[in-house]
């Protein structure tokens, strides 16, 4: 038992990889049934073994638990270092659950090249889980990029008409952001160890390490100038992933072209990697730059909220509508986070889960109707409630969850965020609240056009309602939506230590804006040199 617990994270992370290898080498490509069975069992089992994290995590215990640690890349001090806190446990559970649902929901949607499909889904799962577990910057970066490859294939091989464009756009955008992040990581790393003498940063001469907990310790000593550049490098990487306003253009393309399961994973998990990155790295490692960036990030987040909602309202395609609603919702999460207070951060983290559940489910629902009609245009439908009552009911519940009706999860998340934002700046709260109103507008308007009224389109007369399998892909998500809506406490409890520690680290800079600067100057012994000087002497 001890061994199992010690390596629990390894098992969770690599079980899907093992499943993928089993499918590649063990099963003939014509045996679709066996492939589906193995994929479903592996994904389901992975979810089951990730559940103990929820119970075994001790909020009063160490910052990171279930730690697995060892040497990996020599001479650079890169470690194989896994560990989780309450925040990452929530995202890991979300990932394993959505992976299982994605696999389970694809049985009839995917008929071509099924072997590759399930292999890529499982590989994607390993990549995502690794991202949330890694506590070493290089390991994190490796998983962050590894995960791009299967997603690229999922969009490119099983996507819609413009899949090639969408797939390459997704890959290039994200890669572009992440390589800049790598330079930021290296700069931090050398500053911590040998220093960057050539550009006037003598360094702290700590043992060379990429371990996050070690780097947290030096955060107050990083000179503001350097914090600015590293923050910028991280920001580009994470903001593209979130996606924040000017970097969001890959998202509608990727979402619309991706197969249903791809969209679910994309919305449910991949976007959270960006927000996860902010909470895990940018805020606690670069508090000074974070505080200075607040107005800018808040402005971009508010633009995303309003702009995403307005564009969503104008969409004729259901999937595009849900995609743009993601831009708006992710803006909410960013705004709550950069309120830099307890309520804002708590709401932001909870809303990450909520968005994964609600939007993931909405993509599933759109996929279900698309599978029947091969059409996603709102105008094609009308009066669906009559032929598909169950479908209409699920759609209603999840629409309400998405727009934040009390008793459902969205309400708790948005309300907590609004409290935090209001405390930080009431004008932001005003804009954010108008985003909620707009959100209710476009979602309900779509619902009305699709489900109410008479059946106007002959083709919709004989549509079949949800079958047993389809219901079971949605039921877990609906249960979670109600659970969070009625009793969110266990979720808040688990994220609390993370929230406290992040805020504690940020507050150093928030309440004493000059402390960090002075501290940094004292250590470097001179005025901070320009961090981007490069061309040598």
């Amino acid at each position: 038992m001890d061994f199992l617990q010690q390596h629990l994270l390894n098992f969770i992370c690599y079980l899907p990889l093992a499943g993928a290898l089993l499918i590649i080498f063990g099963i003939n490509r014509d045996n679709a049934k066996a492939i589906k069975t193995v994929a479903t069992v592996v994904a389901g089992l992975d979810f089951l073994i990730s559940i103990p994290l929820w119970f075994l995590y001790n909020p009063a215990g160490a910052e990171f638990q279930f730690v697995v640690q060892g040497e990996w890349i020599p001479k650079l001090g890169v470690q194989y270092f896994f560990g989780v806190d309450g925040f990452s446990i929530l995202l890991i559970l979300l990932t394993t659950l959505l992976t299982f649902i994605s696999v389970y929901s694809s049985f009839t949607a995917i008929t071509q090249r099924q072997k590759e499909y399930y292999v890529f889904l499982l590989l994607l799962s390993t990549g995502m889980l690794g991202v949330f577990m890694s506590l070493d910057f290089v390991l994190f970066y490796v998983f962050w990029e590894v995960m791009l490859v299967p997603m690229y294939f999922l969009i490119g091989m099983w996507g819609g008409p413009r899949k090639l464009y969408a797939a390459i756009k997704f890959f290039l955008y994200t890669l572009f952001g992440s390589v800049l992040m790598l330079v930021g990581i290296l700069a931090l790393y050398f500053y911590n160890s040998t220093g960057l003498a050539a550009i006037g940063l003598p360094g702290l001469h700590n043992p060379a390490t990429f371990a996050i907990p070690e780097l947290y310790k030096i955060a107050p000593h990083i000179p503001p100038q350097m914090q600015f550049w590293v923050f910028l490098a991280f920001f580009i990487g994470f903001a593209i992933k979130v996606p924040m306003f000017p970097f969001h253009t890959w998202l509608p393309d990727a979402h619309v072209e991706a197969p249903t399961a791809g969209s679910v994973i994309l919305a449910g998990v991949l976007l959270k990697m960006g927000t996860y990155g902010f909470v895990r790295f940018s805020l606690p490692l670069l508090p000074d730059a974070t505080v200075k960036a607040v107005p800018w990030v808040a402005a971009l987040a508010i633009i995303a909220i309003i702009y995403g909602a307005l564009v969503a309202m104008a969409q004729k395609d259901m999937k595009k509508l849900v995609a743009y609603s993601s831009v708006s919702h992710m803006g909410f999460i960013m705004l709550g986070m950069f309120a830099l207070n307890e309520a804002g951060l708590r709401g932001s983290i909870l809303q990450m889960i909520n968005h994964g559940v609600s939007t993931g489910a909405l993509f599933l629902l759109v996929g279900i109707i698309y599978e029947r009609r091969h059409n996603r245009m709102i105008a094609e439908y009308g009066g669906l409630a009559k032929v598909m009552p169950l479908y209409a009911m699920f759609f209603m519940v999840l629409t309400m969850s998405s727009i934040g009706l009390p008793t459902l999860n969205g309400f708790i998340g948005e309300f907590t965020i609004l409290i935090g934002v209001f405390r930080a700046n009431w004008t932001w709260a005003l804009f954010a609240a108008s985003g909620i109103v707009l959100g209710a507008g476009y979602m309900l308007w779509m619902y009305q056009r699709v489900f109410f009224g008479e059946i106007t389109n002959e083709k919709n007369k004989d549509l079949k309602d949800l079958n047993r399998r389809e219901q079971w892909t949605l039921i877990p998500l609906v249960i979670i939506a109600f659970w969070i809506g009625l009793y969110p406490r266990p979720f808040f409890n688990r994220m609390q230590p993370t929230v406290d520690r992040v805020l504690q680290r940020v507050e150093v800079a928030l309440h004493h804006p000059d402390t960090a600067a002075r501290h940094g100057a004292a250590i470097t012994g001179s005025a901070p040199a320009e961090a981007d000087q490069g061309a040598g002497e």
């Binding site: 001479k75 490796v142 791009l148 690229y152 490119g156 800049l180 981007d532």
Partner: protein, 485 residues
């Protein structure tokens, strides 16, 4: 001078004799004997490797032999073994290809062995003269190899361009050497280094000499703006030759580059660093951008290899211990992934020059999933995506650049490697996302040796990507002996 002085030189002597024997035997054997000759060639290389391993590791640290001409150290050992491996893989990859071609193989094997001999001398040269002789031996063998398909116009064109420009660059290099010799009065690298440490007068002829040697070296590694021969030579050459000249001679040229610029000229780093900085930036930018629009796979890989030379130059610009061993590691990684990619091109090239356009790869994943998966791994590795060796190689190189404070250059490098993903993915896209339009798609060659070699490259690319520790250890051993650690 007693005969025993030549004992440490035995590996090279053995290789030269083996080359002569294979050349003589090869005259009599037609196309049928190619495989036998290849095996003989690989055994000769293996024998050389064993001799190098036994004789090339002097117990008491670096040892200068043959009156200061060559030096035996970890650096030389590392590069020699790398080159022997690259040449062996090339020979095994080429055998089936040559069998299908109308040309014989006797000269081919011998020429590869001579080129290897030249490369080994370059790796262990301790004097400007021996380095130059090694370089010319390698280059002359390459010119002939590029023009090996003597009835093909493309092959001839590539060879002539390569020869004319190569001769010009050798001239520049030689002129630079003469200026360095003229001002410092010594040809030995150690002597030059010592002289430069004390030289503060800054004779302009010396600066010019170092600069010209640098230009010559940039030419040999195909760095911008001295790259113009590369695409034509790579496209025109028979594909196994392209595979060979894109890795072995490039590694040798970088070995010589390091001997000169991380060794002999290191004390004067201020005078040449900016030039190398500009060359590295231009090479990365131009190589990657030009590759974006290529439709011929070999041409695309030619530009890609230009870009990779640019990444490798980061190690020289950094001028640090880490830069040096990162470059050593990168050459190893690059050898496997590039040889693998070219091996795949050979595999598809069953109908003359068909299989060279990117569109020829359409639908390959359906027909040949294993081959397509292999190529996918090489493309991801070349783009530097983990968990492949390409990522590890770049991680160390970029770290070296950041450590030395060249953050702008590192930013150019990472952005350009993101750009490179686009053209590598074009191949992946054809293989996986498109269906072939031809009714009878070009079949893959059935060539066990070639497949085995590609498998070796796949395994190496993945293993180094996941567990780089042993390779890093070897690369660092090479560094310590170079004397910059």
């Amino acid at each position: 001078m007693s005969l025993s002085q030549f004992i440490p030189f035995l590996p090279e002597i053995f290789l030269a004799v083996a080359g002569f024997v294979i050349l003589l035997v090869g005259v009599g054997v037609g196309r049928r004997g190619i495989r036998a000759l290849t095996i003989a060639g690989v055994f000769a290389l293996a024998g050389t490797a064993v001799l190098t391993w036994v004789l090339g590791r002097p117990a008491g640290g670096p040892e200068v032999i043959l009156g200061g001409m060559l030096v035996l150290d970890g650096f030389a050992l590392y590069f020699k073994l790398l080159m022997i491996a690259a040449s062996s893989i090339t020979l095994l990859m080429a055998a089936g290809f040559l069998e299908r071609s109308p040309y014989g193989g006797g000269e081919f094997v011998a020429l590869v062995l001579y080129a290897t001999l030249g490369m080994m001398v370059m790796a262990s040269g301790a004097s400007l003269v021996s380095l130059y002789v090694g370089l010319e031996l390698m280059a002359l063998s390459q010119y002939v190899l590029v023009g090996y398909f003597k009835l093909e116009v493309k092959s001839n064109e590539g060879a002539v361009k390569y020869f004319v420009l190569g001769a010009l660059s050798s001239g520049i290099l030689l002129y630079g050497i003469s200026l360095v010799y003229g001002t410092l009065g010594t040809l030995e690298l150690g002597g030059i280094r010592d002289a430069l440490v004390t030289n503060v007068s800054g004779n302009p002829a010396l600066g010019l000499g170092i600069l010209l040697v640098g230009f010559g070296m940039l030419f040999k590694v195909a760095a911008v703006p001295f790259h113009v021969w590369t695409p034509d030579a790579y496209e025109g050459a028979p594909t196994p030759v392209t595979a060979f000249i894109s890795v072995g001679p490039k590694a040798a040229a970088f070995a010589m580059f390091l001997r000169l610029f991380a060794g002999a000229f290191a004390p004067q780093i201020q005078s040449w660093r900016l030039v190398m900085w500009i060359a590295a930036a231009l090479t990365m930018i131009y190589g990657n951008v030009a590759a974006l629009t290529q439709n011929n796979v070999k041409r695309m890989l030619a530009y890609s290899s230009i870009a990779h030379a640019g990444y490798a130059l980061l190690g020289i610009v950094a001028g640090s211990a880490m830069g040096t061993w990162a470059l050593l590691l990168y050459m190893l990684v690059y050898t496997f992934m590039n040889l693998g990619a070219f091996g795949f091109v050979i595999l598809l090239e069953t109908r003359g020059y068909a299989g060279e356009q990117i569109s020829d790869y359409a639908g390959l994943a359906k027909r040949h999933p294993a081959a397509a998966a292999g190529m996918l791994i090489f493309m991801l590795a070349l783009a530097g995506i983990p968990p492949t060796a390409g990522f590890m190689g770049k991680l160390y190189l970029f770290s070296a650049a950041v450590e030395a404070g060249y953050i702008k250059l590192a930013v150019i490098a990472v952005v350009m490697s993101a750009v490179s993903l686009y053209y590598y993915l074009r191949i992946v896209l054809e293989m996986y996302f498109r269906d072939g339009e031809e009714d009878v798609p070009a079949p893959l060659a059935r060539d066990r040796w070639l497949e085995a070699m590609i498998t070796v490259c796949v395994v190496a690319t993945l293993v180094i990507g996941v567990w780089p520790a042993p390779m890093v250890g070897w690369a660092r051993n090479g560094l310590i002996a170079l004397g910059v650690g």
